[in-house]
């Protein structure tokens, strides 16, 4: 199995300048690796730093210590020190991230939100829309909603748009932050099935799943983030 993602000696401390520079250590010495075809689940109580790890990999949190290594073809990129431009490029081609909440853009239709990552990768607009439609259909989002901006959708509908956007491409690394949190049982099953398919197709996945049934189904391994907690 080829390794896709490796964190080594990673630490994160927040410095709160508005509270007289209080330092809030969260993680230290994080060591983890994810290979192709694995779905590694981060476990531990809330506040322990699970989402922080995911965000450091995606690059929207800075990494203070250690290396966040991402395999990109024949190159290895350290996200902790990579330039913004390099990280954007990784997001386009290598790392996809499904966050807990959809950050909706006013006036952009659900189907275009889902098609966007494909278009960024150079897929033609029509083809991208077709693939987005397939994904939304698979996730049972009613077709009458596809052409509407998701701002007024329910939590579960927004989350399905978010999942569709995150899974529509074939990025080799997938970061999943509670993708099923606001879904009902039948939609949870569909998401679990999609994740299994991507795992079988060789994606390297790292995620947080609070729902026990989804976790048992998709996870190949669990890592207790509590063991990296800074005390």
């Amino acid at each position: 199995m080829t390794m896709r993602l490796c964190l080594s000696g990673v630490g994160k401390t927040f410095t709160m300048h508005m509270r007289d520079g209080t330092r809030l250590p969260v993680l230290r010495n994080v060591e983890l690796a994810v290979s192709e075809g694995e779905c590694v689940v981060l476990s531990g109580p809330s506040g322990v730093g699970k989402s922080t790890i995911l965000r450091m990999i995606y690059g929207n949190y800075r990494t203070n210590e250690g290396q966040v290594l991402v395999v990109d073809g024949d190159k290895i990129i350290d996200v902790a020190t990579a330039s913004p431009r390099r990280i954007l490029d990784l997001r386009h081609r290598v790392i996809s991230y499904v966050s807990q909440f959809l950050r909706a853009v006013p006036r952009v239709a659900a189907i275009d939100i889902v098609a966007e990552p494909l278009k960024v990768r150079g897929v033609e607009a029509d083809v991208a829309r077709d693939r987005a439609a397939e994904m939304l259909a698979r996730l049972n989002l009613p077709e009458r909603l596809w052409s509407l901006p998701p701002a007024t959708f329910s939590g579960g509908e927004q989350q399905r748009v978010n999942i569709a956007r995150g899974l529509v491409t074939d990025h080799p690394i997938l970061i999943l932050d509670e993708p099923t949190a606001s879904l009902d049982a039948s939609n949870r099953d569909i998401v679990a099935e999609l994740i299994e398919e991507r795992r079988e197709a060789g994606a390297a996945m790292l995620g947080i799943f609070h729902d026990g049934s989804v976790r048992r189904r998709v996870a190949t391994r669990a890592i207790d983030v509590g063991s990296f907690a800074s005390v």
Partner: protein
């Protein structure tokens, strides 16, 4: 509390010979007498990138934009631009005529107040067509056709083509200004607070339009804004300015989700959440 902010980390150029930036600013400073406008600003911008410059009024962001766009001569520093022939030139070494030609063809400049970017007494079609005529187009029908096409792209009804912008709403004027700037197919667009002063719904429409155009045309853009939500929605990268210097720069979502400097933390914490 704010006095302890650290200056931005040392600037390390990352361009390589195979992958040159479109624009490179090195040590750009502008002083008004002994008052600092902006000081020692360095960065690189690549094709297709949108950079937001954020900060409060008086932070130097508009002064910096003026220097980058050749409208203000820096007191020190260099602004290099990769021309269409791929030659990289310091824009302040160009002749006045060359610089004006660049500004009319390969660049756009969207002003906060559309009255500064439009000719208020000529028709909407004339405003768009004028930029085409300035670069040598003389075929009236072709110019009018192109103007119509662009009015459509910025969602202005075709039957308004002969109306003057003074008869337009603020949002329409701003969209007309964008059409006027983009008609010549620029590679780089400078924008100075393009959405401030507009109603929120009008703002959202304009931002969405800008987002679409920037990605469809693979434009590079440098956008000055005090509005972090605008920066979040439209930019890839961000520079935070305070007292004329860059206090933090990086990926837009990284600065907004995990600001490092005291000042950026204060800015992010001060945003009202609806």
């Amino acid at each position: 509390m704010l006095e302890d902010f650290t200056p931005s980390e040392a600037f390390v150029p990352e361009a390589t010979a195979e992958d040159p930036p479109l624009l490179r600013a090195s040590g750009v400073s502008h002083f008004y007498g002994n008052r600092v406008g902006c000081q020692d600003v360095s960065f690189e911008l690549w094709p297709g990138e949108v950079l937001a410059i954020v900060g409060e009024s008086g932070s130097g962001k508009s002064t910096l934009l003026g220097c980058l766009s050749g409208r203000l001569t820096p007191t020190a520093g260099v602004v290099e631009y990769r021309m269409r022939d791929q030659a990289t030139r310091n824009i302040f070494d160009l002749s006045e005529a060359e610089r004006r030609f660049l500004a009319r063809t390969d660049w756009g400049f969207v002003h906060q107040d559309a009255r500064n970017g439009l000719r208020m007494t000529i028709s909407a079609g004339g405003n768009v067509g004028e930029r085409l005529m300035a670069i040598g187009n003389r075929n009236y029908a072709a110019i009018r056709g192109e103007a119509l096409d662009w009015l459509g792209r910025v969602e202005i009804d075709a039957d308004r083509i002969d109306d003057r912008p003074e008869q337009f709403s603020g949002g329409m004027r701003q969209r007309l200004q964008i059409a006027r700037n983009l008609v010549t197919g620029p590679r780089l667009v400078f924008m100075d607070e393009p959405t401030s002063g507009l109603d929120v719904s009008v703002q959202a429409r304009l931002l969405d339009l800008l987002r679409g155009l920037v990605s469809d045309l693979s434009l590079s853009a440098i956008i000055v804004t005090h509005d972090l939500a605008v920066a979040r929605m439209i930019s890839h990268r961000m520079m935070v300015m305070r007292n004329g210097t860059v206090v933090e720069s990086g990926l837009t979502d990284q600065i907004l989700d995990d600001p490092q400097s005291a000042y950026a933390q204060l800015l992010v914490a001060s945003v009202l959440q609806p």
